[in-house]
Symmetry: D2
Subunit: 380 residues, 4 copies
């Protein structure tokens, strides 16, 4: 008989929904060793927490995250709150012996991230950071193709993450909907929010980053704070571009901005190897572009692989060939593996330590931009 696993969710925003949905769906599609039970959701506004609990089937709600962490009945703590709260909650949860799934980026900054790693490693709790894009089937397929050696020596790994939602100077900062624009809540702008995804996937695909040289910009210098109504300086980076070297000798080029008119969530990457190349973008996430130089020359061309067949990563669990899945399924994949590993007492990749490596890169990027110099990246 499948064991129950009691889940406590902290944060009922956008990420709270994606994580709840993942727990609600995983057993319908994946054979997992636990039956997740949504025990409690925690959030700032009680009425909203209550409504969220009802909609998603949480048995109770609270406005005090300590109650979740300290609840003996809870097996897993899901951290879906703004970045400035990750460290405190995660460390408390680790001390309380809870398994932890924490939203990305791991922390506000490197010192917090290091403490978090220390906490989970000392307590030995299984942990995971929700860099969900690794588990888009096409992105996982890219990893598989690289690991099989199909690309040969890699020369270039480029990634962009382009949005356009903050172009208007009327968008406020702070508050529940726009905390990502508030340096206190977010720690950084696009670097921690968007480039962290690109960096996590890039290092998973292509190995560690050696050094970086970055440029950041804040196009809108002041914004009203959503809670206080006061106009305050904007502390985050609206845009960030950086060059890098990888330890394997390849070159990297990353760019993220929230000022790329026409793009909502256009995360793209392209990898150029000696023998083959790969490209992908989040706006058509179910496709992978692949160029194989070993094809006969007159029929050689970029292939658009519709990643829906049952031999593609994760796709045997879903529908039939030709029928695409979407964004939310990445969280289901993540939870499925998290549950599998939990049963063996193991963490799931990327765990806190891996996420620390990404935090080191982000930190080096921001330092480089500030100092206008190349920075060597610390290794975890």
């Amino acid at each position: 008989m499948t064991k129950k696993l009691n889940v406590g969710l902290i944060g009922y925003g956008f990420m709270g929904r994606t994580h709840s949905n993942a727990y609600r769906r995983v057993t319908n599609f994946f054979d997992v060793p636990y039956e997740p039970v949504l025990q409690v959701v925690c959030g700032l506004v009680e009425a909203e927490a209550k409504a969220f609990a009802e909609r998603w089937g949480y048995k109770s709600h609270t406005t005090d995250w300590h109650k979740v962490v300290e609840d003996e009945n809870i097996d897993v703590v899901e951290i879906c709150v703004p970045n400035n709260l990750h460290a405190e909650i995660a460390i408390a949860a680790a001390k309380a012996g809870k398994a932890i799934c924490c939203e990305k980026p791991l922390a506000l900054n490197v010192p917090q991230a290091e403490q978090m790693v220390k906490a989970v490693e000392e307590s030995g709790v299984p942990n995971l950071v929700s860099f969900n894009y690794r588990r888009v089937p096409a992105v996982t397929l890219a990893k598989q193709l690289i690991d099989e050696g199909r690309l040969g020596k890699i020369f270039h790994y480029r990634a962009n993450f382009l949005q356009d939602w903050t172009i208007s100077a009327k968008v406020p900062q702070g508050g529940m909907a726009t905390w990502r624009l508030d340096i206190k809540a977010a720690g950084s702008g696009v670097t921690g929010d968007l480039l962290a995804h690109c960096i996590d996937t890039a290092m998973w695909h292509n190995g560690p980053i050696t050094d970086v040289c970055a440029m950041t910009e804040t196009f809108v210098k002041e914004r009203m704070h959503a809670e206080t109504g006061k106009v305050e300086p904007v502390g985050i980076d609206d845009a960030c571009t950086f060059l890098c070297h990888y330890d394997n000798g390849s070159l990297g080029n990353f760019e993220s901005t929230r000022y790329a008119r026409g793009h909502k969530a256009l995360y793209t990457f392209e990898i150029n190897g000696e023998k083959a190349s790969i490209a992908w973008d989040l706006h058509d996430l179910h496709r992978l572009s692949y160029f194989d130089h070993s094809d006969q020359s007159i029929v050689r061309g970029w292939r658009s692989i519709h990643v829906t067949d049952s031999d593609m990563p994760y796709m045997d669990k879903w529908w039939v060939p030709g029928l695409q899945i979407g964004y939310e399924h990445t969280f289901v994949h993540q939870v499925a593996e998290f549950l599998q590993n939990l049963a063996e007492g193991k963490s799931t990749s990327p765990d806190f330590r891996e996420a620390l490596a990404t935090q080191y890169v982000c930190d080096a990027v921001l330092t480089s931009a500030k100092n206008k110099k190349w920075e060597t990246v610390k290794k975890p």
Copy 2:
């Protein structure tokens, strides 16, 4: 307090999964007047029915569909079995006063379909036929653009539905996995299975079809029967192409085949109007192509609309701009509207009578192909 609605599912195949998933998810995303309760699933093989019930949370299972239809506790009957069983079950369910959601095509043939319409209309039960592709947000948006008059007079409406899964002569006919190739279970080949979708959407977008002229082909003449192991003649149409006129004076061109190498489920349509054109395909279902002749000439071009913003049909219920949904969501949309209408005692479009119109077109298409003549389409 939300009322419970007891659901009985007949058929645990591919469609049984999509319908179950829709009921499991709808309350998390839509505000509906009922809380669906998955009461019973019915299927041929008891062990499989039991496993399905466990995976999807049905309280019980059975191998006798009469028990579902006759169960006083059941409010809604979901018919997800091969086409040859639709009529008998639906008529029994109608007589038992159940609301009905029936998979497409409505029936094996016109006489059955007419009896089914009669049954639901005499009993007055709310009913729905699951032509789910109407509720792809991009397809619904197309309907909205047409209704707003943006296309002006329509000249052409083309649709294709291309697959490639039966090219091998080793694919059997009959049985649970391949009943769609068995004329007795399916009634026809691509016409009822695939073109029925295209025809339903086309008439929803562009109004009734007047007359048709069709060509069908069966490329593989004999296949082994999956259950008997005997090689038998193939009775279905492997491919079907037809010309038609619409009542509004526009021209239609439809093609479906399971012999289009490289396409898994490539349902496409293109509509050419005096002022604008629209194109869409199921392999990138979250995009709508739109050409507006009123654009200034030097910046005029086909627009690729990424149908993910919250002002797009259904999309306020899901995630954030740029993040796509997939195939299965169409069934959630369908169930959300079905439940809303149920609370008002109404059927949901396309109901049995609308589906009968599609059956008339399919019937005329098959007759035309047989007789090699134009056929006038009967109207419901």
Copy 3:
């Protein structure tokens, strides 16, 4: 030393320009056995003929085509006038022993076309009909892939030719710019003008067409005549769609219209074979889409072949990989082969007899549409 070849051009319209350009360029890129000399251009309006001669380097001009045909100095007659003049000029040129390159479609109708074939075959003059799209490198590559057996048995060959330039009822018929809308000058509408291209390429790729069933429509029933100013009934087909069988057992589906808003010259075809499929369109003529089922499944997808490498048909003559050529180059390829064959006294494919086969299909299509019946296609 290269021999001179004296060319006489009849018709200085759009096609007169493409043919002149081809003769002016061919020796720069291809090694041909003749040096073409542009001797005389003939057209209706003397001032325009004179200006054309000056721009393109013709030594003289005339308004009487008989003078071109009867000129002993002329080796080749290029026929670039409206369709109703093809037969008379071609027959006269054949009798005068001239090599002939005639614009498509071969003639107004089948009787004319048969007389033209008779004339060139009796006189033995080398001849060519300018179905130029065969010589788009990507289209030629498609032929090569088919001939190599890469597609296996072919199931489907679809082609469309979509335009939108006559949607406005204010576009006149007749005259020099719009003779294609005048039934007397053009013989038919989209069938002879556009579908003739599709049919020629289709039979080149996929063999003879057995029978057809067509539907035509004239959306705008009356138009002003450009020369008389009188409003007259429109005699041409604005749109034509037809089904067909090929002798090899595959199915065809063709559509052409000048009422497809958003498409200027969107000639497309797709071929589905047992082992592979091919697709192409004229709006990106330098690309060929190719799907090879023998690719390993996890990296299988439609390939977009950028047909610019030097091992692609004709491309060794042009620039370097990655740099595309355009529409006009098809005429250069055609002339290069015409000159090569001339030196051996041979006709160039498609010659008049091959073009007669296309004329038979067009004739059957128009008859079928008129009679609303399937028509068997006559073979040349």
Copy 4:
């Protein structure tokens, strides 16, 4: 009567062909004030120069470029030789009072480029540097859209130029076919060859570049010299990526490499403005992607503008809507404007001084890469 203009071409390689073709074609399509006469071609190997002269219609040939420059009969000198010869020839031609069209990049390095500017400005000869991609109609259209203010404030201008032809270590350096890999002949690798194009267009579109920070790499460290057969160190940059600021406050990100498997000549740019965005790539050069935020939200999307209509830049000179032109036409456009300006004694943009600005950027890029520091760009 049109005046004759005597042209002397130095260099019969790839660029010699594109320039010759442009002169041969320009009068057929454009109304220009001169009739160009191809007088003499100069190249290293006499037999090849002779063959080139015959193919392209040059009246004579020579192996000594001084004879071209000093020939009183020559009006225009076309410089199509490796970069290390540009300065000497251009300065001599300027002193001899010839109009000059010089291939890009202007020079091996900044000191040479400054001398060349001085020479043409002192002598007052009309001059032009052949950054031909400005005159792709879609690229010119982009300039027009920017100048009309449609993009509003610009935030980002990204460009890439990706090739893959030098991945094999067996490709030699030096010699006539591969001088671009020889530091002595080329001055740099991708920076001068490919990024120079991107930089020229970027500054034309978006104004001057303020400062840069670059990274270069030489993946293959040694190559055989094509002439000597000796293996020598490779001095060029195989890849170069740089960040920059523009004077208008926008951010730039450029990358070029010859190690991007699958790309032959993939020059791309994307411009993100407050109100609209633009994207383009050379592999489909006849299309411009355009996103206009002022479109109504439910029909907003990236537009693919097929730049073939007669109201598009240059396109009234060519064929009819829907029919694309190719790479070589950019040189025809360039020559048409060069001839127009010559008649008025004016230089054509980009002239030597504008090209010097690009040279300053390239120089700063290479210095930055060497010193691993940001570099301020000198202004001409």
